[in-house]
């Protein structure tokens, strides 16, 4: 069975789109969202329906909450030797005060904005966030700050501007500080501290959030072991002391206790950076202090390891708010320890209900999760306990049963939280690998079939020999075994494992079939190479500068995608490469024009090959006009020759105009550009003149007697009409066996092939690159959007290729049908 190269390319790209989709599914794990959009009402207390007192919201535990967030506060800055040395007051609080200390583990990417979101929503960033955040910086998800504002709490914020962007209308008072100037580490913090005295004295607020940036800036400048760190930590310690003493003195007047939270958003690596998943970067300090906490004197515990997302639930409970819907954390139980048993169980129940709702929404087989079973059981026990409590039963029994229920709940919460967060926390490496394998196999197939596709026949053989099918079955069996092993061994849920088995089998069959195709293509190439070496024929293929430039440009473009600033300014790369290509074409055409005889004989002797590599460059940059000029130079004379010589310059000028028409990117986006100048209201006259001129130009172009351009356009349009009439059966093609049609079909197939090849090289390279850079600082803000764009580009390519192939196929079919009828 033989296949045209256009159809082959279209099929390859379609398969590649599948591979990219699989990769994307693994790279952007879907966020865990409960199905009901409006917040569900608080679950009633499981008390066999007797009392109505359980349905109302519980009173807040704390009157005032101060969150002191220090950017880059690694755990050992507080609990390690540095803390002892530079933060005496904090160390006193940790060791002897009424406080609970934890090491909170942040999930990668350990970058400020996703961490802030995790702290206030308790959820982890997912695919939807990336798409949604392209346009709207405000945080729309359910979170503690929004809930607090809705509940009428007065929230004040001082510090990093990111918060102000996330919550534009929530704070009654705020002062944002930009973190743009990394070299500044005093002003950013003084900007926050200068408000403290006034605010602490005033006391007309409920929540105060402070975000200090200085420590992180010092880390970026000189690393975590620099002497500046100690000074900064001492400063932070004194600020903490000020806040704590002021809160304590206020508490004596007010009745409800207050809560002071000291936390970091992410850690700091040994070189001072952050963003990746190393232990230093994910471990942050978390310290909760309140007079409500009871503490036995002399008791020293090492800080417990918890998740950073747990803080959102804790804050919500502490402020008497419902826990954010999508929070995957469980609240920090030590905070509750001094409360009555009924209250404790009530809070545990609320948290467990919230988590189980999330689990139900995300996992279709949630009943089988051990956490869910535990939750159901503890809920039943809880109901029994409440009944006993209301009957005023023996206090001893009640206490023992209560402790048992509490233990049950804590275990259930732990497994529920793990089950929910494992779905979003990590990349699904298995899907990513399979997707990458598919994409790379398609690329290899395309690369290996270049000689055949661009050869004379432009047809490819589909390998259906017995050896191939044997290989296919073998590979399929092996992959299936691997699939079973991976799916049974993994504790985390993987997308491919959750698919039904025919679908997963289809994917695996695709992978193995592609493998067979690649292998057979490889052997064929080897055999051909051997044959060629045995009877060497003078090969007509020579590398011209243009071929080299095209290849080097593609390679350079792909390499530049490894740097985030090049992705941000990708248009600059394109403009630069297009200008270079134009200049090279210009050079070529001038040489062909002035040194026609001395130049390479390629232009006159083998127009087919010349056309072919022109078509490659045409496909890269779609500069048809410029591309055509050198290859058809010999057949032209006089006016056309000058047009051919001038056209690269024309294209260059147009590119320059295009560049100044719209400033985009990041660095120069603010610069004035032609587009804004024209659309501004005071330049309406210029705009009208310009549009009138361009309309006139179009009119003139259409009107002029024998402009080749208008002729071509007219001819194309008329041809389209004619084809339509033929398809409906009113007309007939006048030709019987025209070789011209065949050759145009062939050229279309080849162009299709080249296009597919050239768009699949960057995609596959980029996928590998992104996998390697998945812990990069800018992975969410720069690389992921670009990945989406690349996937979309591939989809468009596939659609175009399929369209072209279908058109070519239908015209050929009509042709052959006509021949048969005759």
């Amino acid at each position: 069975m033989r296949l045209g190269c256009g159809a082959f390319a279209a099929g390859c790209v379609a398969v590649e789109v599948l591979g990219v989709a699989l990769f994307l599914r693994g790279f952007f794990p879907p966020p865990v969202r409960s199905s009901s959009q409006p917040a569900p009402p608080a679950a009633p207390e499981p008390s066999a329906g007797a009392s109505s007192s359980g349905t109302k919201l519980l009173p807040p535990l704390f009157g005032k909450v101060v969150v002191m967030l220090i950017d880059g506060l690694r755990d050992d800055f507080v609990f390690g030797s540095k803390g002892v040395k530079f933060m005496p007051y904090t160390t006193y609080l940790v060791e002897e005060g009424a406080s609970h200390s934890f090491v909170a583990e942040a999930k990668p990417p350990t970058v400020t904005m996703p961490r802030i979101k995790a702290l206030v929503t308790g959820s982890l960033p997912g695919f939807v966030d990336v798409v949604r955040n392209l346009n709207s910086p405000a945080l729309l998800e359910d979170n503690v700050v929004t809930r607090a504002t809705a509940a009428g709490k007065r929230v004040i914020f001082y510090g990093d501007e990111t918060w102000v962007k996330l919550f534009p209308k929530h704070f009654v008072e705020y002062d944002g500080t930009t973190s743009f100037f990394v070299s500044d580490y005093t002003e950013v913090d003084d900007n926050v501290t200068r408000h403290l005295d006034k605010v602490l004295k005033r006391g007309d607020w409920d929540v105060l959030i402070l975000h200090y940036l200085g420590l992180d800036h010092i880390g970026h400048i000189s690393g975590p072991s620099s002497p500046l760190i100690g000074r900064k930590l001492s400063e932070m310690d004194s600020i903490l002391m000020r806040i704590h003493t002021s809160l304590q003195s206020e508490e004596r007047e007010a009745l409800s206790p207050s809560l002071l939270v000291l936390c970091g958003d992410h850690g700091m690596s040994e070189s001072g950076g952050h963003g990746a998943a190393s232990l230093e970067e994910v471990s942050t300090a978390l310290l909760l202090t309140s007079s409500a906490f009871s503490r036995k004197p002399g008791e020293v515990r090492p800080p417990e390891r918890v998740q950073q997302t747990d803080l959102a639930a804790t804050l919500a409970v502490g402020l008497g708010l419902p826990i954010p819907q999508h929070s995957v954390g469980r609240f920090l139980f030590p905070v509750m320890q001094g409360r009555a048993m009924r209250e404790q169980l009530r809070f545990l129940h609320l948290n467990a209900v919230q988590l189980s709702r999330l689990l139900q929404a995300s996992n279709p087989v949630y009943e089988r999760e051990p956490g869910f079973e535990q939750f159901k059981m503890s809920e039943r026990l809880h109901g029994n306990w409440v009944r006993l409590y209301l009957e005023n039963n023996n206090s001893e029994v009640l206490l023992n049963l209560g402790a048992k229920v509490r233990r049950q709940y804590l275990g259930a919460l732990k497994s529920l939280s793990r089950a929910v967060s494992s779905q979003v926390a990590q990349y699904d490496i298995y899907s990513m690998v399979l997707g990458t394998v598919v994409v790379l196999e398609v690329l290899a197939l395309l690369l290996l079939s270049i000689p055949q596709a661009l050869g004379a026949a432009a047809e490819l053989e589909v390998p259906l020999s017995p050896v191939c099918s044997l290989l296919f079955y073998l590979a399929f069996l092996l992959l299936w075994a691997m699939h079973v092993v991976v799916c049974t061994s993994a504790e985390r849920s993987r997308y491919l494992c959750s698919l039904t088995w025919p679908m997963a089998g289809g994917v695996l069959a695709l992978v193995s079939a592609l493998l067979c195709g690649v292998l057979s293509a490889l052997t064929r190439t080897c055999v051909d190479g051997k044959l060629l070496r045995r009877n060497p024929t003078p090969s007509s293929w020579r590398w011209s500068e243009l071929d080299f430039l095209t290849l080097a440009g593609t390679a350079g473009h792909v390499l530049s995608l490894g740097a985030s600033s090049f992705i941000e300014e990708e248009h600059q790369t394109w403009y630069f490469l297009v200008s270079t290509l134009c200049l090279a074409l210009c050079h070529e055409s001038y040489r062909a024009c002035f040194l026609g005889e001395d130049g390479e004989p390629r232009h006159c002797s083998s127009p087919a090959s010349a056309l072919q590599d022109r078509s490659v460059s045409c496909d890269v940059l779609e500069l048809d006009q410029a591309c055509q000029s050198p290859s058809s130079l010999d057949g032209l004379g006089g006016r056309e020759k000058y047009m051919a010589l001038a056209s690269p310059w024309l294209v260059l000028g147009c590119c320059r105009l295009l560049r100044s028409l719209n400033q985009t990117g990041v660095q120069w986006a603010h610069r004035p550009d032609l587009g804004h100048w024209l659309t501004s209201s005071e330049h309406q006259a210029e705009l009208s003149i310009l549009s009138a001129l361009s309309l006139l130009a179009i009119f003139a172009l259409v009107q002029s007697r024998c402009s080749p351009l208008s002729k071509g356009a007219l001819a194309l349009g008329l041809l389209g009409v004619y084809c339509y009439r033929t398809a409906t059966g009113h007309l007939l093609f006048p030709w019987q066996q025209d070789s011209k049609d065949l050759s145009s079909d062939l050229a279309l197939g080849r162009a299709c092939f080249c296009y597919a090849l050239l768009s699949s090289i960057p995609v596959s390279a980029y996928i590998v690159l992104v996998t390697a850079l998945r812990y990069h600082l800018f992975i969410w803000s720069v690389f992921s959007p670009k990945l989406l764009y690349e996937g979309m580009h591939l989809l468009v390519t596939a659609a175009l290729c399929l369209c072209f192939t279908a058109v070519g196929r239908s015209s050929t079919k009509a042709d052959t049908g006509r021949i048969a009828r005759c």
């Binding site: 630069f576 040194l595 660095q667």
Partner: protein
């Protein structure tokens, strides 16, 4: 014969490199606050003057083009004037090309033009010295298999490496490192200078390496 020629080529190239180094160090003796990055435009002027002077000197002393026939004074004068016009034209053409490549059109005109001047100094001036104002010869040298002596061969290499240097010099501009040399056109001029120096170093070595394979029509 050939080895002597290559040696002469090497010495002239070393002299050119020396002139560039001099242009970095001599002005700091006479001018206060002179540094390549801060007073970049001054350095550009001085460097281009130095390189031009050395090229002219070498042309007068070494006479690589070896035109034996005597010519009249008026012919020489017109030839010189033609060379000047060609140089200016090449400066303007380079300027236009830079603008087409994306250099600002209205702002920083002087910077762009001086970049064009220095690139012309590295490419056009040696061409003018060696080939004279003769477009056909230029096109011959810069097309495949059109070289007729090692001087033209080295000319080809230095010119192409200067162009490549300035081409690569444009790459750091969009990066967000915020270094002083990322400002237009400093990275490009530095790239062109490095490319020129690299070409000067590489070309004698390359010719020496390939002296067996190289056959010229005239030799």
């Amino acid at each position: 014969m050939k080895n002597i020629d290559i040696k002469r080529l090497l010495y002239t190239h070393l002299l050119c490199i020396f002139s560039i180094i001099l242009s970095i160090f001599i002005p700091s003796v006479f001018l206060e606050n002179f540094s390549i990055l801060e007073t970049h435009l001054t350095w550009l002027c001085i460097c281009s003057v130095f390189v031009t002077a050395v090229n002219l000197l070498l042309y007068v002393v070494v006479k690589p083009s070896a035109s034996a026939k005597r010519s009249s004074l008026s012919y020489k004068v017109t030839r010189f004037l033609k060379c000047c016009i060609y140089f200016l034209m090449s400066c303007f053409v380079f300027h236009v090309i830079f603008v087409l490549y994306g250099a600002p059109l209205i702002e920083l005109v002087l910077e762009t033009f001086l970049f064009a001047v220095i690139l012309s100094t590295f490419t056009t001036v040696p061409c003018l010295c060696l080939l004279g104002p003769n477009i056909k010869a230029w096109l011959r040298v810069f097309s495949r298999n059109g070289v007729t002596s090692i001087w033209e061969n080295s000319l080809q290499i230095t010119t192409i490496s200067s162009f490549l240097g300035s081409w690569f010099g444009a790459f750091p501009i969009p990066l967000d490192w915020e270094r002083p040399w990322q400002v237009w056109p400093i990275s490009c001029t530095l790239g062109a200078t490095f490319g020129y120096v690299a070409g000067l170093v590489i070309s004698p070595l390359w010719i020496y390496w390939n002296r067996k394979q190289l056959t010229y029509k005239n030799n």
